[in-house]
Assembly symmetry: C2
Homo-oligomer: 232 residues x 2
């Protein structure tokens, strides 16, 4: 797939990288692949690569990602920031534009042999500054989760409130009250009851209502807008 030797040096020292996050087993994971060659052989790296000579940034990150995971599984993709420290990659000056990618909690895409999921709380040795990018991505995710509808990108198409709360718990890193979560997301019209109910597990319990997200595109929820325009 990737040529091992004699890669032509790209004329533009610019690369794109993505921290693709997913909640798996109640913990946020990031997609990474293990480098086989120098530099940073053995370390884990984020998917990405050099920007093509006449390529859009968005097109490039999608193309690079496609080498590691089925991009159709991606529920969200947004730009994070750019890093240009000359020494961030030894031996070559390259500016990196990083992205945050999300995959719904129920998906389990096929991955190449060199690629696996890693808990972001227990990262292996990461190549270059990729560890910093993962932290920036996780921070962006948890903050945006509170004032946007970004949950749609983490949750499966259908879910109960308990399942959704577990996802939020993992992504936010602290406890989430189910009652509170339900009221907030309902009031914001972020989620809609489908009418169906889930069957209780063994041992019983009241069957849970099944919800879905109302929209699947990022939207900011006004409510917490402070210093807002007059209400008249």
């Amino acid at each position: 797939m990737v040529p091992l030797v004699s890669t032509p040096v790209p004329q533009c020292g610019h690369e794109v990288l993505a921290a693709v996050l997913q909640v798996r087993d109640d913990a946020v994971h990031v997609l990474a692949w293990q480098r086989a060659m120098a530099p940073a052989a053995g370390a884990w790296a984020l998917p990405g690569g050099d920007l093509g000579p006449d390529e859009h940034l968005n097109a490039s990150i999608r193309r690079q990602l496609a080498q590691k995971v089925d991009v159709r599984e991606l529920s969200h993709l947004e730009q994070l920031d750019s890093r240009g420290r000359p020494e961030r990659v030894p031996g070559r000056r390259v500016v990196a534009t990083s992205y945050l990618g999300l995959i719904p909690a129920d998906a389990d895409p096929r991955l190449p042999d060199d690629t696996t999921w890693h808990r972001i709380t227990d990262l292996p040795t990461m190549a270059f500054d990729h560890g910093l990018i993962v932290r920036a991505a996780a921070g962006r995710l948890s903050r945006k989760l509170t004032y946007t509808n970004l949950g749609f990108a983490l949750a499966p198409p259908q879910f109960t409130m308990s399942e959704l709360a577990r996802i939020y718990r993992a992504a936010l890193g602290h406890d989430v009250d189910v009652t509170n979560l339900q009221r907030i997301l309902l009031r914001r019209a972020q989620i809609t009851p489908t009418g169906a109910t889930a069957r209780p597990g063994p041992g019983g319990g009241r069957p849970a209502a099944i919800y879905r997200f109302t929209a699947y595109e990022l939207a900011v929820t006004d409510p917490f807008a402070v210093l807002s325009p007059p209400r008249t």
Copy 2:
């Protein structure tokens, strides 16, 4: 691809740009200079230029800005985003990383002849995609003003509440109640009374208390954190 004049071709097609904003006469203005040469001759452009071969992004934007304004006047500088559409600049493929810069309302820095302030509500013909960057910068500013202490970068070192409210009005684009603003910023401990009072203008009026910002580095104010951790 080949440059029209004999400027040395940078080895990396990467530039940095800054939208430097300031509140002047109750309106947000942006610093721009008028291009004399093709491409986009006559159009107004943001300060910026090509990234040096071994230059940090932050160092580069400061260096470029220094050509148009005294960077010591800058009260804040943060990265906005990167744009890489191949056609964003005709004749040359260049990725741009944009920045938001702020200058306190009372400063009036010396500017080169080709450089002036423009109201962002009434922009002249902007070169390339620079108009989009100005809008992104203004949006970032108004949003961050509500949930951070970014006001410190817009306000002069000392101010009365009326003066501060006028600055906020301009940056937010809507009315701001003085009483409300005072209470919110005091409760958040963003501002501190200096003890001094301003002399009333002609016609009298109660002398206004003089405040200053408590801190001069960006800090997020928690209060509006939704789905916040349990209060116990």
